[in-house]
Amino acid sequence: MKFKINRDHFANGLAQVLNVVGSKATMPILSNVLIEAEKDQISLTTTNLDLGIRCRIKAEVKETGAVTLPVKRLAGIVRELPNLDVTFDASPNHSVKLTSGGSTFRIMGIGKDEFPPLPEFGDEKAYALEQSELADMLKSVAYAQSSDETRYILNGVYFNFRDGKLSLVATDGRRLAMVSKEMEVPASSAGAIILPAKTVSELTRLLDKGTKARINFNDRRAAFQIATDKDTSGLVDHVYLYSKVVEGNYPNYQQVIPKETHQRIKLERELLLQCVHRAALVCSEKSNSIKIKLSSNLLEITAQSPDFGEAHESMAIGYSGPDLQVAFNPQFLMDPLRALAKDEVFFEVKDEVSPGVFKTLENFVCVIMPVRLS
């Protein structure tokens, strides 16, 4: 196996697959990247058995073949090579000679036979999506995923293709974010999966390579084909991402989204974010809440921690409902405000023990449970 490749293209390709490695103790080969040379491109594949990524880069292939090499160290070396021209030469005993300008590296590899192949997909449920739109949708809900391993069902983003729309939902049991987009969902293809958090972060990272992305899924696994037509650093065809899904029943999130609106206020997103952020500067781990107080045309935010001090912020708003106050974890308010792009958001509240709800005009809702003050 022998090929010539552009250093920056090679480094870019390795960067796409670098994050997915398995534990070294159980299967050493999972720390390696599978490099396969075919015709005028090479493909790079990594997997941790739950998640796998494959990309293709153009290369001048002189001799086809395959080998696996430790991906982290290989990427570190390729990035630092002195010359743009790199030749890669693997001998039958899996040792690889890497040459660039005056540098030569010999790296010990492992044969491809032990490398677990990425499952390819047949005719499962399939949808075509816009990369930029999916990226925005993921960004507007991903922060609400749970990182508590004991609630593994919540350690991911729920993709629900049903009733003429795709809804993405994430929740950690204290706040829930949901965003929807209308699309054609044939009854036969309706279905839902929980995409694991790690996959969500890899997918989000990959979603700027081109215009289209395609998702295939069944009950146990999902795959994305991410077009690379906008990439100028050697990626060709598409990036393929394979993932197991979180198996289990996602909680009935519809029931926690309030059906009625009690008090609704329109807010300038940036301004509210800044006020909450400033007020939260006095919060401490022990008293991690801020109080929102509504009165006639006035929104006040207060925060205090007994051993530090207190903060008071006020904002003029349009409000004529009854006076009320409710406390929240400031992070739960800031996360959606940061993730959204619109200038205006709607905030709905009812009383001190009912959730606060952020909405935009574009099918976004974020439900936040309050903090009950003792």
Partner: protein
């Protein structure tokens, strides 16, 4: 909050009178029992588990024979064969303790209940102007505690908690020691180092052997450089202690339990895992109602096991967020027990402790209908058990396994 604010606005100044009182009940558990059985007064008695337990309190007559706490009962009976062993009376000590501190609160509102049998009083709000007046009041309290509850106590009066505490322990039982403000250093100077809080027998011995430090005055006599070499970075604290300086306020927030715990010494050692797990679960069932009654939540559970040779091991785990329900703790019991109980030997004691007490704002949950139901159920059970005495309603796992015969 109010206390903190007051402290910030008034920088701590040494009061002119010894207004801080440390009250320390003498042989408290025994005293409580003797109040019920006065005919035993003057005899060698101790409270503790008879067969397998340890002495938790011994009368001064018993102490004179070499009985101390904590000492295994068997050994105590060897050094003092005519020792009268009194079993623990459930509920008595906390009741008497409450009555004792309630009496203290008739003297001043600032009473810190430090433990079941000792606490601090701040007589600052009493508006007394002379030490004589002050002494009269505190002696009056000491008398009342004896007259009304038959509990002998020792009192230490000083300008701060540190010195008051050392003073109260100096002439037990029924001690009454006043350290006039300004004479703290003089008062502490001749005392052995072990009288200072934080210096145990081992430290005392090693300070004496290695550095020739035997009395408190040996510390104040040394230069700063020497002290730094001996005590490391904490030398300024050590020096302040030796000089009798302390500015901690008497804190009244007695509800601020730091932890909830329970332990049980078995009648015979138990080697059966299921049986030990059952005992631990029962402790959880008994402790959580107290947590709920205090309106708190707890985060960490620690299980301690003790082997027949008194070696012990403990392990703890914390929940993601504090809870006032039993259910999140049940699944932790068996795994914790397995980690703590490694040696292939039966156990003589097990204890369960809840810490990480939280009463701050509570983050509400979305999918918590089950928890809310459980909380309502727990509330009803707590009420039933309170009204009709303990354990009217129990969890199934508290029932002992039926023997094969039945």
């Amino acid at each position: 909050m109010a206390l903190v604010a007051a402290r910030l606005s008034n920088p701590v100044t040494t009061p002119a009178l010894p207004i801080i009182v440390h009250l320390d009940a003498d042989a408290f558990f025994v005293s409580c029992e003797l109040a019920l059985q006065p005919e035993l007064r003057g005899r060698k008695c101790a409270v503790g588990g008879r067969e397998r337990g340890i002495i938790s309190s011994a009368s001064y007559e018993a102490r004179a024979c070499g009985v101390y706490t904590p000492m295994p009962t068997q050994r105590a009976l060897k050094v003092c064969p005519d020792l009268i062993m009194l079993p623990h009376t459930s509920g008595l000590y906390s009741k008497v303790s409450r009555q004792m501190f309630d009496l203290c609160e008739t003297l001043t509102p600032i009473v810190q209940r430090n433990s079941i049998d000792e606490g601090y009083l701040d007589l600052g709000p009493c508006g007394l102007s002379t030490t004589i007046e002050l002494e009269e009041r505190v002696r009056g309290l000491q008398r009342r505690l004896w007259d009304e509850l038959q509990i002998p106590v020792s009192m230490g009066l000083a300008a701060n908690k540190l010195v008051a505490q050392i003073a109260s322990k100096l002439r037990k039982p029924r001690g009454f020691v006043i350290v006039p403000p300004g004479t703290e250093e003089e008062f502490l100077a001749p005392l052995p180092l072990g009288k200072l809080p934080g210096i145990g027998a081992k430290t005392e011995a090693s300070l004496g052997a290695k550095h020739g430090l035997k009395f408190v005055r040996d510390i104040t006599a040394r230069s700063e450089g020497e002290l730094q070499r001996i005590f490391g970075d904490s030398w300024p604290d050590m020096l302040a202690t030796a000089r009798g300086q302390d500015c901690r306020p008497v804190e009244t927030d007695r509800d601020d339990a730091k932890s909830y715990s329970q332990q049980e010494t078995f009648f015979t050692d138990i080697g059966d895992f299921a049986e030990i797990e059952r005992v631990a679960k029962r402790m959880v069932d008994e402790l959580l109602p107290k947590v709920r009654a205090d309106g708190k939540r707890v985060r960490t559970i620690t299980i301690k096991v003790r082997y027949p040779d008194f070696t012990q091991e403990s392990h703890g785990r914390s929940l993601d967020t504090a809870s006032d329900l039993e259910s999140p703790f049940y699944p932790l019991i068996a795994p914790l027990l397995r980690v703590a109980w490694k040696k292939p030997r039966p156990l003589r004691l097990i204890s369960v402790k809840f810490s990480g007490v939280d009463d701050g704002p509570a983050q509400l949950e979305m999918f918590a209908q089950t928890d809310e139901k459980r909380r309502r159920l727990a509330g009803v059970l707590d009420q039933l058990n309170r009204r009709a005495g303990d354990h009217v309603v129990q969890h199934g796992h508290q029932l002992a396994k039926r023997s094969a015969a039945s």
